[in-house]
């Protein structure tokens, strides 16, 4: 046979393969198709339903496997331990005290939350950050230049692993009224979706029929096909595959109805309401440093953030009306607030306006260090800073897929300083506008005002002594 004819036949065979696979009967199982494959084929989602593809599943599974593999590898075995940091890291992991990360010469130990449990609704987190200690630059600057580098090396050698450590304890309130934890609203969410499924699942009867059929014909397994049964001389009862196909189709129809009913009544928007719940957080951190590195510092901060459309508002609305939550009642609430129209979330909801507030206190301790050999002495009195900020922001535009395109934020920050001659009280207000461009990059423009020119910071264009403009484009790194 001539090579050209062979090639033509090969091409025909290659094209015919996929075609033959696609030519399965549309209303019954194929002769060589196993019943379970046939069932899955008929249960495929309808074209107007977003389907999770096998590729997506494979991708997710691959990621998961990578994560599992990474987790299975010890983050630092005692045999490989070369310093106190490595030993500490291995010890921390081995005793399941928490997680350890080591980046840029900074070791971060996060304590397992279970070790810090103080009861339901109150979440504590503990963290220790060990930075690579460095001799203070102001101190080095006082050493005569001709011996500075030699002294830097010897002073650096005196520093140990714990000579620049920050200990942080943070608290967040997680209850039905505070925090964005889904489990706090599980009963309500379950009840709504359970009702939605109860109202839309029409596959129950057909499923029961199919299960009874499997019981009645235990010699027919679903991983067999009509052809394989014929080879074994097993007779397929009439209507067997029809019952399975009917169950598959009604399951598919129920899934579509369940999705539409839930969307129409705004059930999926419960995700937004939970994410907009008020967040109350507090933290205290203490940075302990060797005198060669710098003064010790204490910082305490309280912050609060909330979105307008949240679960607390929904509960108040129901309480006012003495109503119990149901899918239609949720729809009424969302429509009354202008967050749902014709079964779709409105821009007013997707704009997700938020308000944030924070107050912090910082204290730098008295500091004194003397290097007699260098005839150097450095001392600083303690200083205190109280600062607060108030901010608000919202998405100006959200695309059809719900991804934010543009956003505006306004923030005003004030700072009052005591005891530090190098710093003064200041007030800075910033309005920022960010826009995602068609190529995926984000452009941002900020208008900054400061009460004194020296607090304006680095700006791209000075409009006046106290007002400036900052602009930037964040380019995404090119994909390898």
């Amino acid at each position: 046979m001539k090579p050209r004819i062979l090639l033509a036949l090969l091409l025909v065979a290659l094209c015919a393969g996929p075609l033959a696979a696609e030519q399965l009967p549309k209303d019954r199982c194929g002769d060589d198709e196993t019943f379970i494959k046939c069932f899955n084929r008929f249960q495929q989602a309808s074209p107007d339903q977003r389907v999770v593809t096998d590729n997506e599943v494979r991708e997710k599974t691959a990621n998961l496997n990578t994560k599992v593999a990474a987790k299975a590898t010890s983050e630092g075995t005692p045999a490989a331990a070369s310093s106190l940091r490595d030993t500490l890291s291995a010890f921390f992991s081995a005793l399941d005290l928490g997680t350890v990360s080591n980046e840029n010469e900074t070791l971060t130990l996060k304590l397992n939350p279970e070790w810090l449990s103080i009861g339901p609704g109150n979440k504590l987190a503990g963290e220790v950050v060990l930075r690579d200690p460095q001799v203070s630059e102001p101190l080095l600057g006082m050493i005569p230049e001709e011996k500075r580098s030699t002294r830097k090396e010897s002073l650096q050698g005196e520093l140990g692993d714990f000579d620049d450590a920050t200990y942080t304890l943070s608290y967040s309130r997680e209850s039905g009224r505070f925090g964005r934890v889904f489990s706090m609203h599980r009963t309500l969410i379950d009840s709504l979706f359970s009702r939605a499924l109860g109202a839309t699942d029409t596959s129950e009867r057909r499923t029961r029929t199919a299960v009874e059929l499997l019981k009645a014909f235990p010699n027919i397994l679903l991983d067999e096909s009509k052809a394989s049964l014929q080879k074994k001389n097993v007779e397929l009862p009439p209507g067997y595959e029809d019952v399975l196909i009917a169950m598959a189709q009604s399951t598919r129809a129920s899934l579509v109805a369940f999705q539409r009913f839930s969307a129409k009544n705004g059930l999926f928007l419960l995700g937004d309401l939970v994410n907009n719940q008020p967040q109350l957080m507090a933290s205290v951190s203490f940075r302990k440093r060797d005198d060669l590195v710098g003064p010790d510092e204490l910082k305490a901060e309280v912050s609060y953030e909330m979105g307008w459309a949240n679960m607390n508002g929904l509960r108040r609305w129901l309480d006012d009306r003495k109503e119990v939550l149901s899918p239609p009642m949720l729809k009424n609430y969302l429509e009354a607030r202008g967050w749902l129209a014709d079964g779709n979330p409105t821009a007013a909801l997707k704009n997700a306006p938020r308000l944030s507030f924070s107050l912090s206190y910082a204290r730098r301790e008295d500091y004194s260090v003397t290097l007699p050999d260098d005839n150097v002495s450095l001392a600083m009195d303690h200083s205190e800073t109280i600062s607060g900020s108030l901010g608000t922001g919202l998405y100006l535009k959200v695309d059809d897929m719900g991804k934010p395109v543009s956003r505006i934020d306004f923030k005003v920050m004030g700072e009052k300083v005591h005891g530090d001659p190098m710093r003064q009280d200041r007030l800075v207000a910033t309005t920022s506008l960010s826009q995602t461009l068609t190529n995926g990059t984000t452009a941002s423009l900020s208008l900054v005002w400061a009460n004194k020119p020296e607090f304006l910071g680095e700006v791209d264009k000075e409009l006046s002594a106290r007002v400036g403009l900052k602009y930037s484009v964040d380019r995404k790194p090119a994909k390898p």
Binding site: R50, E212, K215, G271
Partner: protein
């Protein structure tokens, strides 16, 4: 034996009498809700709510002479991946076939269903 990754509806065959089905769903704090329906031949179906199956396990004993079907329905309130795991433990303590682990990614507004037929030995 279930494929890897498993199909949306899977199958266990020749399951020994007295085996125990075990269902777990996770992660616990992810923005989705789930519900399972368990059908046993000759009996009314049972509904297992999210709180019963996440993290689970919710178990059921399987008997010879019956057939079973388990469906797990998911509704996503945010972008996440739901993990469903079904195992069958034989009366001798061994695991029947390979445990089924569905990883179901979804975004806000998505729904999904996963099913399992069980045919006894």
């Amino acid at each position: 034996m279930p494929n890897n990754p498993p199909r949306p509806t899977e199958l266990y065959t020749r399951v020994p009498d007295g085996s125990t089905l075990s269902l777990r769903v996770g992660p616990s704090e992810a923005p989705f809700t789930s519900q399972a329906k368990f059908f046993a031949s000759g009996q009314p179906s049972k509904k297992w709510l999210d709180a019963a199956i996440r993290p689970g396990p919710k178990t059921a004993v399987l008997h010879a002479g019956s057939a079973y079907y388990l469906s797990v329905w998911l509704a996503f309130l945010g972008k996440t991946t739901a993990e469903i795991e079904v195992t069958i433990q034989q009366p001798d303590g061994g695991t029947h076939s390979t445990p089924i682990r569905w990883s179901v990614p979804g975004e806000q507004g998505d729904v999904a269903v996963r099913g399992l037929f069980i045919q006894m030995a």
